[in-house]
Amino acid sequence: MQVDEIKNEIRSIFKERLNMDLSNVTAGDDDGLFADDGWGLDSIDVIDIVLGVEQKFGVKLGQDEEIQSHFYSLNTLAIYIQSLLVKSLTA
């Protein structure tokens, strides 16, 4: 799956699970997911996003500390999910 496709799927998770009105979001793909001037998410939103990602992509997100860096932006999250998808195909 291409990164752009994955990003679209993540956006739909934001819409469906977080009830976000995407037409009002001005943040870009490299802007901070947790930044007030970015996507404005918080750690509670992550609970809902993790479940959404796991159900949508059929992957398991890690519990390690590194996971935080993958949640930096839409791009980093999409690239991380892509790497998990590749890993699951080659495993």
Binding site: R17, M20, G40, L41, D42, I44, I47, D48
Partner: protein
């Protein structure tokens, strides 16, 4: 004893989404109980519900806050905002340590219910909404939104929670833990709650008719209500509007039955006696009682017995009405909602009516202010709450005068 006054009120209810609308309904006898179009009522004895309509989420909430709010959190935030506004109180760095909140809540049942329903139907679930199933969530949300750094507590004594919360909050002020306390209760309707009360046989087939010989049960409702309690010193120092004085409260347990009250109302009588004693109020001084008055056969009978036991001959001079036919039984919020009704009555010198009253019952032969509100001079008013498990709370308020 340190004097405590009420300086702010906030309310959302089936018959008014602020204190002004709510008072108008109390005076006009305007009921907010309506045909239940929100839930599948198949199999339910009652087809009515006291549902809040026309509720608007406060514009002061950020998108992020809104995402994490349950139904009852929205109600709590809304009534807190109205209460702060009416008290002309702003939370600042200088006063926030002395401001706290005690709420009665059973948690966000409908949000939990939606989660389980979606899970069963294999639809998208939002697990973070389960955080709101904790009864302390609504109070935490209000405290976080307003930066209240004083005492925080949650009360669950079933249908007396909202009243008990007011008593506890007053204690926090009297004992010096806080200068100002928000106190109240919240409740949202849910299918689970309706089903539970239906299964207990507690719902009424027709109209909810407290103190009527043909009463046959309750109608459920939802509400949020918050009072701002404040030490008199603090209120005077900042020139706050003073609505009334909080005098005292009494608490007791029937230790009798899981759902039924003590048949002679012994527990409720003890709660009233305790409130009168602690407040040093002669029972003849009470002019009005806002009764729990659910409209079940057992509740109303035992409550009237309790009032007669405590007040003796004076019981016949009292006005004893219940607003539940106007609001439905709002469970965790009921005690707080009825405290607000009592304060509005005291301040406006009127007794709200007991609606739907048709046939007198010799077991409930007090003046229940049937069907129409009445002007009533009163200095002291009492608000009583009974609850499943035999949790009884009695609150006493007094008209505010400069000299105690």
């Amino acid at each position: 004893m340190k004097r405590i006054v009420v300086t702010g009120l906030g309310v959302v209810s089936p018959c008014g989404n602020n204190a002004e609308q709510f008072e108008a309904s109390l005076r006009l006898g305007r009921s907010g109980v309506k045909a239940n179009q929100w839930y599948d009522t198949e199999g339910f004895v009652s087809k009515d519900i006291g549902k809040i309509i026309g509720f608007e989420v406060s514009k002061s909430l950020s998108k992020r806050e809104q995402r994490h709010c349950s139904q009852v959190d929205f109600y709590a935030l809304s009534v807190a905002e109205e209460a702060f506004d009416s008290a002309k109180l702003k939370v600042t760095e200088n006063n926030s340590n002395g401001i706290g909140i005690v709420l009665g809540s059973g948690g966000a049942v409908s949000d939990t219910e939606n989660y389980v329903r979606n899970q069963l139907l294999n639809q998208n679930t939002i697990p973070s909404k389960l955080l709101a199933s904790n009864p302390d969530k609504a109070g935490n949300t209000v405290a976080a939104h307003y930066n209240l750094h004083g005492p925080r507590s949650s009360i669950m004594t079933a249908c007396s929670s909202g009243a008990t919360a007011i008593g506890y909050a007053a204690d926090f002020i009297r004992e010096g833990y806080a200068e100002v306390m928000l106190a109240g209760g919240v409740e949202g309707t849910s299918y689970v709650t309706l089903s539970g009360f239906n299964a207990l046989g507690a719902l009424c087939a027709g109209r909810n008719r407290p103190f009527d010989r043909n009463r046959d049960g309750i109608v459920l409702g939802e509400a949020g209500a918050i009072l701002i309690l404040e030490s008199l010193d603090s209120a005077l120092k900042r020139g706050a509007p003073i609505i009334a004085e909080f005098v005292s409260y009494g608490l007791s347990s029937d230790a009798h039955h899981i759902t039924a009250p003590h048949p002679e109302g012994h527990g409720m009588a003890r709660a009233m006696q305790q409130a009168l004693k602690l407040g040093k109020v002669d029972c003849e001084k009470i002019d009005y009682i806002n009764a729990h008055g659910t409209g079940t056969v057992l509740n109303d009978k035992s409550e009237v017995a309790a009032i007669k036991k405590v007040f003796g001959n004076h019981a016949n001079k009292l006005c004893v009405s219940t607003i539940k036919p106007m609001t439905g039984h709002t469970l965790s919020a009921a005690g707080a909602l009825e405290a607000v009704a009592t304060l509005l009555s005291l301040n406006g010198q009127f007794a709200p009516p007991t609606l739907n009253f048709e046939t007198p019952d010799p077991d409930c032969d007090l003046d229940c202010v049937p069907n129409f509100a009445r002007n009533l001079h009163m200095e002291y008013a009492m608000s009583n709450s009974l609850a499943f498990g035999g949790n009884n709370t009695s609150l006493i308020f007094k008209r505010y005068q400069d000299q105690g």
